[in-house]
């Protein structure tokens, strides 16, 4: 026997549940509904600036952040426009990107791959970032580049100097404006040969990770090609703080040249300690002992103070360059922050503008369209002269600077690091170019561009 209780309330309840049940498939829209990851729909677009704000490379990271903020101001039409006025491509007009105002999210990578990836993931998944920029370590850059490839957003690498970033770890969604270890070697070689001759014994201290390894390999190849011998290569942990136990053995090794493949706070410590050990005043085999720091930055020079006098190194870009792009950038950065920009700041600023420009030229935020617009793109007016973004490995080719540490000509304490590096030579782009299958860069493939979703 059945008994049915039809009440109005019961009917309403049942139909509400049934309706909700039927509606579920329609409200569960798969994320593949949009054409690519984080397609900007409103009147804004968000960039993720993922830089180290704590740890050994924090100084560089914070300077990158300043430059990125400046780049957004210029893109959104505030300030004096900086390099937008000198950039050879004229599609950016200071109204954001394709009419969308540019916002930013910042994150702290702590110079740790895991943390950097977590931070980038949160930018992509939570904040809807369409592009990730920044970073101050090659290990982190490679880790985040891999993540962006999987997630389907563009990675505009910041300060990363390892050959691997656009070598064996190159990815279709990743782009590097900064130069690399090979280019440092190619630019430094002739200068070193002229200054120090062809008979020297080099002792390498090398940061123990991808950047240190590839830079050491590059410098060793160049110096051995001009007749130098390599006494020893000692790997040191990143962030060691105290390098005295690594420097003491150099005194009796018979080497007359020390090559410090260190960066950031590590280089400041190791160079300072090398000077304290009296290496610079030493004579070995009848030659003056020399120290070389293949990769320089203003912030390192600032930390090392007068210890860098007479020490050669190389840079991607320097604020003292005479071209009008550099002048425009230095002026707007200086007006906003009161001091010149570092090379790390420059590369992040340029990368942000290059991305915005590529989107505008492509007419779409779709990563694959952006990749196409950036590949084999020739531009000028961003410092360093005419520059090529090579399509086969996503590496920029431009002039490289060879620098020498000098005593501060202005004597102004605030300018230490900025005017204590002087440009010895602007090595032309042709001298630092290499085929994309060069043995130091072999073993990688870009793969397919990934729009995600």
């Amino acid at each position: 026997m059945t008994k049915s209780n039809f009440t109005r309330r019961g009917l309403l309840k049942t139909s509400a549940v049934a309706g909700a049940g039927l509606a579920v498939p329609t409200i569960f829209t798969a994320s593949s509904a949009s054409a690519f990851t984080n397609e900007p729909t409103g009147d804004t677009v968000t960039f993720g600036f993922n830089v180290p704000q704590t740890g050994a490379y924090a100084e560089e990271g914070l300077d990158e952040l300043r430059a990125q903020e400046l780049a957004l101001e210029h893109l959104n039409g505030m300030g004096d426009g900086g390099m937008l006025n000198t950039f050879s491509s004229k599609v950016l007009d200071g109204t954001g990107i394709m009419g969308k105002r540019v916002n930013m999210k910042t994150g702290d990578t702590q110079t740790k791959s895991d943390v950097a990836r977590a931070s980038a993931q949160s930018m992509i998944q939570k904040d809807g970032c369409i592009m990730i920029n920044g970073g101050s370590s090659s290990g982190v850059a490679i880790a985040v580049q891999g993540l962006c490839q999987e997630a389907g957003v563009i990675f505009m690498a910041g300060l990363t100097h390892s050959n691997d970033t656009t070598g064996k770890d190159r990815k279709a969604n990743g782009f590097r404006h900064f130069f690399n270890g090979y280019m440092s070697g190619a630019a430094l070689g002739p200068v070193l040969e002229k200054a120090y001759g062809t008979e020297r014994n080099a002792y390498h201290l090398t940061a123990d990770y991808t950047w240190g390894w590839t830079q050491q390999e590059s410098i060793q190849a160049v110096t051995e090609a001009m007749g130098w011998t390599t006494t020893q290569n000692v790997l040191t942990p990143v962030g060691a703080g105290d390098f005295s136990s690594y420097i003491a053995p150099i005194l009796n090794s018979g080497a007359d040249t020390l090559i410090l493949n260190h960066y950031g706070g590590d280089m400041v410590n190791s160079l300072t300690q090398a000077v304290q050990f009296g290496l610079k005043d030493k004579q070995v085999n009848g030659k003056d002992f020399k120290i070389i720091v293949p990769l320089y930055s203003e912030l390192m020079a600032k930390g090392a103070g007068s210890n860098i006098e007479g020490v050669y190194g190389s840079m991607n870009w320097n604020w003292q360059l005479g071209d009008e792009g550099t002048a425009a950038f230095v002026k707007s950065f200086g007006e906003k922050y009161g001091f010149p920009p570092s090379g790390a700041a420059h590369t992040c600023y340029v990368q942000t503008l290059l991305y915005a420009d590529a989107v505008t030229r492509a007419g779409s935020f779709n990563p694959c369209a952006v990749v196409e617009a950036l590949e084999d793109f020739e531009f000028d007016g961003m410092g360093n002269g005419p520059t090529l973004y090579r399509g086969s490995d996503h590496q920029c080719f431009k002039d490289v600077l060879v620098m020498e540490g000098v005593a501060s000509p202005s004597g102004n304490a605030a300018m230490v690091g900025y005017d204590t590096l002087s440009i010895v030579e602007q090595t032309p782009r042709a001298q630092v170019e290499y085929p994309e299958d060069h043995p130091m860069f072999a073993g990688g493939s870009l793969g397919e561009c990934n729009p995600g979703a």
């Binding site: 994320s31 990836r117 949160s122 939570k126 090659s138 691997d164 123990d208």
Partner: protein, 402 residues
Amino acid sequence: MLGLNSHDLKMFIVIAILTLAAPILLNPFPDASALGESFNAGYPALMQRFVIFGILVIGFNLLFGLTGYLSFGHAAFLGIGSYAAVWMFKLLSYNIVPAILLSVIVAGLVSVVIGYVSLRRSGIYFSILTLAFAQMMYAIAYSDLLGRMFGITVTNGETGLQVYNDDPQILMSAGDPTVPHLFGITMNGSSTWNVGGWSFIFQNGYYLSAIFMIAAFYLSIRIFRSPFGLMLRAIKSNQTRMHYTGLNTKPYMLAAFVISGMYAGLAGGLLSAMDPLTGAERMFWTASGEIVVMSILGGVGTLIGPVLGAGLIKYLENIVSKINDGILHNWFAFMPDWLDNLLVTIIHPFIGKGWHLTLGLLFMAVVIFLPGGLVEGGQRIGRLFRRKKSTDAANGATKPAE
């Protein structure tokens, strides 16, 4: 039901519901609102960390909470699990089943060795031994000493181990996804439910990890209530007495250590399955310390405490560290300028890169005022409400301490 008493069953069901509904519960504010942009935690990458670190700390608590042996090198097992899983991705295919199995097995084997040596000592000496082993493993992984010995890449040093296009991947067939997947279900695949100002993301990878965590939690309840669990507690309260009664406590200790290591291995394997890259910093001693802090913050020896502690720390790390001065100025925009600036100046050291300071203060507060961790805090609040209802129930309901 399920072999649990009614109290445990209730707790288990609550945990299961909270975990499964996390994508909704962790997004309390509309996405576009200022609060939502700063405090919502319901995005897949963070939720995965909540549950995976939950598994890790549940396992750690089986050792520390039950036996009182403080392992200061637990991150080593996490790292080993991660490396094992990534190697399975490189050699076999992106299917996560072999990866997770191997990560648990390898972590188990390594914990047998480390446990056998370390458990010869107790107290601080045990802690130092485990710390030493973990730092050894870290150094080996960081400089890839194993790889250098054989002239190959084992851990890929500081760069971290990742999968390349030219890796063998012998079980991979043409149409397979090129991201970690479970028989074709990709881990990063997700559905989005847009409703009102909210969009809730339900990600496959999160739900896989969530199911693992619920299972791990269930297993931990069963171990807590088993004779084996009782034996471990007996060791904690007076090991010498156990020896005098003629009982060999060593096998029990080793079993607890290995189970705990396998939990960590599982967590490591899952981390790699969600994001197929691993690095040595996962094994650094600060990572081990973090596990201890999570456990103490939540409540050592309680069932639910570790999960709470892990969640809280990961929340602070990912959410508070993202708040910057600009966001603060937005919040206080309605105030007069001087008050706005004053408040921002006061709060500034505690946000962004200062989140460690916030964590430190919180940790001190918990240790000083709530020695039983967050669980004790919850119990105190619970008692407060119960006492209001009926005064005598509070006294009658108390159980003996042990």
